[in-house]
């Protein structure tokens, strides 16, 4: 048995799973110290199911703590940025694309030193130990603990980043170092950005993971625990301490995968209706479809693969207004104050939830408070909400064919009957804790992004090498060999080059349990 937890901005949800069976799910409030929310949710669920912590094999946690911290520019650290590239890249120094506020927080400590590789693996600048030692001493004088190292074409050769990290560590034994080849793909600036972001979250990651750890100890849970990352696969909690940035998209990924699991559909549209927003995404072969345009997080461009989502301002807490029979729902919402400000909870704001209760779509709060609402208003608001959701479904659709639509999240009560464009509307059992279920179902993956010379070893051999490397990385990450499959294969020839150079991106994933 295992536990899946989702530590969101408002709620901390937990589920207990036996294989692929959901035994029980609970919701509780997220707390300032995130471990506390976990203790509340998990002790609640263990108590209700009478399951002993000793029977648990693992705990999987999905969290938006790091994304939120970066987007809000809170709890970030100053970073020493070391770039191995000189004389290349000097036209674009580090952090050019960061907001002034972020640059102030992260500081202006960067070094562009000789190093790096050419696309074919030859040396670019002359990397030298003496030069790095000089930088290492300056870092130690400035007492900088969090260090980011980025090297041109490190995805094809990581050696210089590793040598550099070793030297810096020698002079700064307490330092926490992030190397870019462990973070991102080809695309230097985006990869360096993500490496710097990761370093800036180093202290928070330590605190959050320690808090999670302590929570589990207090709960007397001794099994290993994992954190879900961007693509729905898992990392061990100790790795997340070093790579918090790799959790940035895990929230939406988990909700979509959870929805796919609960409904039994591998190809469907997922509509996650929360308190303030509704996310629309597409599940293809059980995995979220990824975004095509580069993704900005907190205004900073990264090359993370993120679920291709659209978001609209509609949720259970959305305010409902009626001006001259023109009904608007959202984008303004009472958010987590639903339980004090909405009519059904004795407040004076008309929310989407009030309408749903008045219509009899669900039963919570005090129904009497909404018994006097105008029937036309109720019906027209329900129609309006439905139309908003149908529009969203249409926007993410692959084609005009009818597809199954899975509704998850607490706000799924707002929808009445079938939806246009949907083959069927599915509101699965436990849909309110789909995120936590998604976390518990994650897989292990391995990824390769390298440039190969087809003229030298041929296309078939290149692809085979890339696939094997990806599979080996998945194995290292804990995937069971028999279940591993290649889910992504992308070939990008390097334009203008006559040597048959091709960039291959391959991803392999497999089950852990």
């Amino acid at each position: 048995m295992r536990i899946g937890v989702d530590v969101g901005g408002t709620n901390t949800d937990a589920v207990i799973m036996n294989g692929r069976e959901v035994l029980h799910g609970v919701k509780s409030a997220t707390t300032e110290e995130p471990g506390l929310g976990i203790i509340n949710a998990v002790s609640d669920i263990l108590e209700k199911t009478k399951i002993s912590p000793n029977d648990l094999e693992s705990v999987m946690i999905g969290t938006t703590q790091f994304t939120n911290a970066f987007v809000e520019n809170k709890r970030l650290e100053e970073v020493a940025i070391v770039r191995l590239a000189y004389p290349a890249t000097i036209s674009v120094p580090p952090c050019i694309d960061f907001s002034d506020n972020l640059r102030n927080i992260l500081g202006n400590n960067f070094w562009i030193v000789p190093g790096g590789y050419e696309f074919d693996g030859r040396y670019l600048g002359d990397w030298s130990e003496t030069e790095i030692e000089k930088v290492a001493k300056e870092i130690s004088q400035k007492k900088l603990k969090y260090i980011s190292i980025s090297c041109v074409f490190s995805p094809i050769n990581e050696k210089q980043e590793i040598l550099t990290a070793d030297i810096i560590k020698k002079y700064n034994p307490e330092s926490i170092i992030t190397m870019s080849h462990r973070i991102g793909r080809v695309g230097f600036i985006e990869r360096e950005n993500a490496t710097i972001m990761n370093s800036s979250l180093g202290n928070l990651a330590d605190k959050v993971i320690t808090s999670f750890n302590e929570a589990l100890i207090k709960l007397n849970i001794k099994c290993p625990f994992y954190i879900s990352q961007n693509d729905g696969t898992l990392m061990s909690a100790n790795i997340v301490k070093n790579y918090p940035v790799l959790t940035f998209a895990s929230g939406p990924t988990n909700s979509m995968r959870g929805a796919a699991f609960l409904s039994g559909h591998k190809n469907a549209i997922v509509v996650d209706i929360g308190g303030t927003t509704t996310d629309f995404g597409v599940i293809k072969e059980g995995f979220p479809r990824e975004s095509a345009i580069p993704v900005d997080i907190g205004g900073v461009r990264t090359n993370f693969r993120m679920p291709d989502l659209i978001s609209i301002g509609l949720g259970g807490g959305s305010l409902v207004t009626n001006v001259n029979n023109n009904i608007e729902v959202g984008p303004e919402s009472v958010g987590f104050k639903l339980t004090s400000e909405s009519l059904i909870f004795g407040g004076n704001k008309l929310t989407a939830s009030d309408i749903a209760i008045a219509k009899g779509l669900s039963n919570f709060g005090n129904k009497d408070n909404v018994s006097n609402l105008d029937k036309n208003l109720i019906d027209n608001t329900i129609i309006k909400i439905k139309k908003m959701i149908e529009d969203g479904i249409d926007r993410v659709k692959l084609n005009k064919d009818l597809v199954p639509v899975i509704l998850v999240g607490g706000g799924s009560i707002l929808v009445e009957g079938n939806l246009e464009g949907a083959e069927e509307v599915i509101i699965p059992k436990h849909s309110d804790v789909a995120n936590a279920i998604g976390a518990s179902l994650a897989q292990a993956g391995g990824e390769i992004d390298k440039i190969y010379s087809y003229n030298e070893i041929g296309r078939d051999k290149s692809i085979e090498n890339a696939k094997n490397d990806a599979i080996n990385r998945a194995l290292q990450a804990g995937a069971i060999k028999e279940t591993i499959s290649i889910i992504e294969l992308e070939e990008i020839p390097l334009s203008y080059l006559p040597s048959g150079a091709v960039r291959l991106h391959v991803k392999a994933v497999g089950d852990i349990f």
Partner: protein, 363 residues
Amino acid sequence: MIELTLDNLENFTRGTAFLGTGGGGDPYIGKLMLKHQLEKGKKIKIISPDEIKEDTFACNVLSMGAPTVFVEKVPNGPTTLHALRKVEEIIGKKFNAIMPIEAGGVNATLPLVVSALSGLPVIDADGMGRAFPELQMVTYNVGDVDINPIVAINDFYETAIFNSRNSGSGEWLARAVCVRMGGICEMACYPMNAKQIKETAIHNTIKLSFDIGEVIEKARNQKTDPVMAIINYMEKSNPPRCGKVLFSGKINDLIRETLNGFTRGKLFLKSLDSSDEMLIEFQNEFSYAKLNDKKLLAMVPDLICALDSETGEPITTDGLRYGQRIKIVAISATSIMRSKKALDLFGPRAFGLNFDYTPLEEL
């Protein structure tokens, strides 16, 4: 005169991505290079070709190479300026202006970086009016402008100088050096006087990038369709240019291969509303679009662009991916690009296609 500022930078680079017609390299890098210069307080002045003096003498500067190398080993402003200085040294005459060789992609932004570094103004005119894959594909050659001397330089200031028998040969030789220089190099070539600029260059293409970026931004803010906004803008420009949405659909298949040093590829789109399909071929940039395997809808040198369906953001061929939902838009090339001699340089047959040019308006 236009002055580049931190406020209009984003719109400018978005416009250059549009005019990149799928190729030209990641405009994001260009944006960051310019942002760095502007934050240092550098001024970048862009002057209209109508304003230039008799004694104007301008050099074209550019970066040659693979877009996928650009994104890792970004183009270098100071070496590009050095290449320009080398050309001055060879011909024994100082330049008083800079020109972009193409209006799309990274090469639309690099000359502005050189302007910031040197203080020289940039003339709002180029040789392609868009992006093309090869050095000789410029309207300058309609007026027999000499490409020589060509100076190629890398990050280490290692320099190669070519005196080629013609621009096509210059392209062929420089390309080989570019590969040895690590997949990209910076260049200076096509020194031009005022008369040549006025007669052979395509005018006001930098201004056009600013405008396109602004039109897209405005449409987004007003929640109207950015794609239609561009077309309306083009049709109202002076002289009016024809604009069409050729297709709207999902990428159904994508074949890319490296052939003779270029990315050649085929993009297959499927309509969401009907059984229509579109094929678009590319050699770095999009070269033609064909509907249902029989009807040609647009071809070079007319501009074919891929835009994100929702936001109108231009997408480069390197950014294309299976399943993307995009719109294909075509814009007619300016008349200077449609002369017999121009079509010999960059019409369909110059791309190895076995059909003659038909203007977008007639398709």
